[in-house]
Amino acid sequence: MSSDIKVDKEMDLKGLACPMPIVKVSKGIKEVEVGQVLKAITTDPGALTDFPAWAKTSGNEIVETVTADKETHFFIKRLV
């Protein structure tokens, strides 16, 4: 589960169920600068469609998604 992307902040959202991963990532993205990348680690199966939907709503970009086993790692670039 590795990626070459430079990560500026990492959030461990394992074990959290909706809406908490989105509530937290919505706050977390504001703690990095525009252009920087936030890595969010989730185990909620709903995150697979909820994160892209949230990125669209919030105007940010998921640059990479890595899924292995029950974990999904989202690399989110702050755009706004």
Binding site: C18, P19, S26, G46, A53, T57
Partner: protein, 386 residues
């Protein structure tokens, strides 16, 4: 007023009543909403405003919800519906409730309807609105036989218990492709005997008792209703209907109220269409017009009869599907099937494997595979065929 929970059972009760008056607010993302949603004959108002929009743009999202409405919220699990419910309550909505356990509790819900309680036996239909499908139970003196049970075993077991019954038999009308059967597990946990036709189940890796055309089943104690197997190939080569007490035909996907089971799911559309034509022109043609069909699926809520049960007589069904039963020529029948063919969901191939015991998946995966409506009818009724 405080935010309150409601259950899938209540939701079904509300949406099947004429006085259904609330706004259903689904807060799942657009993709999930587009794939599968709550339905009901009297559900008039439904909107989709994803919960992530409430998180990002609270004011604009709240503005999309009409004021003064009674709000019933649905989400994937429960948490997001509660979250949005609190926002609405804070903005002055007075009657707001969230679905307990989320959309999957709706997807798995079974609503029991008594069809008949006479001559010492009881016959129930369990409507599964999430799948537009029906399973059945026949009860007689402490014994219960199930027909096409879903994987919601807790439900059947507590139903049996409430009625002082033991689940003794589980009849499969065919190898299902559209939902995961509960029979295998029932056999393991309740010790029920599974029955199915060899043409469908010969590759299955669990124990089952083969059923042949004309086989008759009875209950342990004398005087109960007889269950006769009638082989009706077409939808699948092993499709079998069960005639109860010479009066009720549990038809699986062979006969529907507003269609017939599509014969093209197995990749042999012409061959299976021929089988189906033979079934229509012999087995179904031979049935008494008064026999009541209890189908495995419904296409439309208009099929509910006055008792809010999905049931219709053979005579009525032949009239309502004159376009199908009026075909006298095999080639015309094959043409009709070809003209009505639609793509089948990709997950069907996997579900068949699970139902034959050839593929093991964990509960989360089962849940995902099992959610979504069926695609089993040969024609989709735009309204009742007259």
């Amino acid at each position: 007023m405080a935010l309150k929970p409601y259950k899938a059972e209540e939701l079904f009760d509300w949406v099947t009543r004429e006085d259904c008056d609330f706004l259903l607010l689904d807060v799942r993302n657009n993709e999930e909403f587009g794939r599968f949603k709550v339905e009901g004959p009297h559900l008039k108002k439904m909107i989709n405003v994803p919960y992530m929009e409430f998180i990002e743009h609270e004011e604009q999202s709240v503005a999309q919800v009409p004021h003064g409405e009674k709000i019933r919220i649905v989400c994937a699990k429960e948490g997001s519906a509660k979250y949005v419910g609190e926002i609405l309550a804070n903005h002055g909505w007075e009657d707001v409730a969230y679905l307990e356990a989320g959309i999957k509790s709706w997807g798995n819900l079974l609503a029991p309807k008594l069809i008949r309680a006479k001559d010492g036996y009881e016959l129930y239909q369990f409507i599964r609105p999430g799948k537009a499908s029906c399973s059945y139970a026949l009860l007689y003196k402490g014994e219960m036989a199930l027909f096409d049970p879903t994987r919601n075993l807790n439900f059947y077991e507590s139903f049996a218990q409430q009625h002082g019954c033991k689940i003794a038999k589980s009849f499969e009308t065919h190898l299902q492709a559209d939902y995961i059967s509960g029979s295998q597990q029932l056999s393991a946990t309740a010790g029920a005997t599974i029955f199915g036709n060899e043409n469908d189940f010969q590759g299955a890796v669990f124990n089952y008792t083969p059923v042949k055309d004309g086989d008759v089943f009875t209950f342990s104690r004398p005087g109960g209703p007889e269950v006769m197997a009638i082989h009706m190939p077409g939808h699948t080569p092993g499709s079998t209907s069960y005639l109860i007490d010479n009066s009720y035909l549990i038809s699986g996907d062979a006969v529907f109220i507003l269609s017939i089971g599509r014969p093209d799911l197995g990749g042999k559309a012409v061959e299976w269409s021929k089988m189906l034509f033979k079934t229509v022109s012999t087995k179904i043609a031979d049935l008494d017009d008064a026999v009541i069909v209890l189908p495995g699926h419904y296409m439309d809520w208009s099929e509910l009869n006055q008792e809010k049960v999905f049931a219709a007589s053979i005579g009525d069904i032949k009239k309502r599907n004159a376009d199908i039963y009026g075909i006298k020529d095999e080639d015309d029948f094959i043409r009709f099937i070809r003209e009505n063919m639609r793509k089948q969901p990709e997950v069907y191939a996997e579900i068949r494997k699970v139902n034959a015991g050839l593929l093991q998946v964990d509960e989360d995966e089962e849940e995902i595979m099992d959610l979504g409506k069926n695609e089993c009818a040969a024609s989709m009724a735009a309204g009742p065929h007259v």
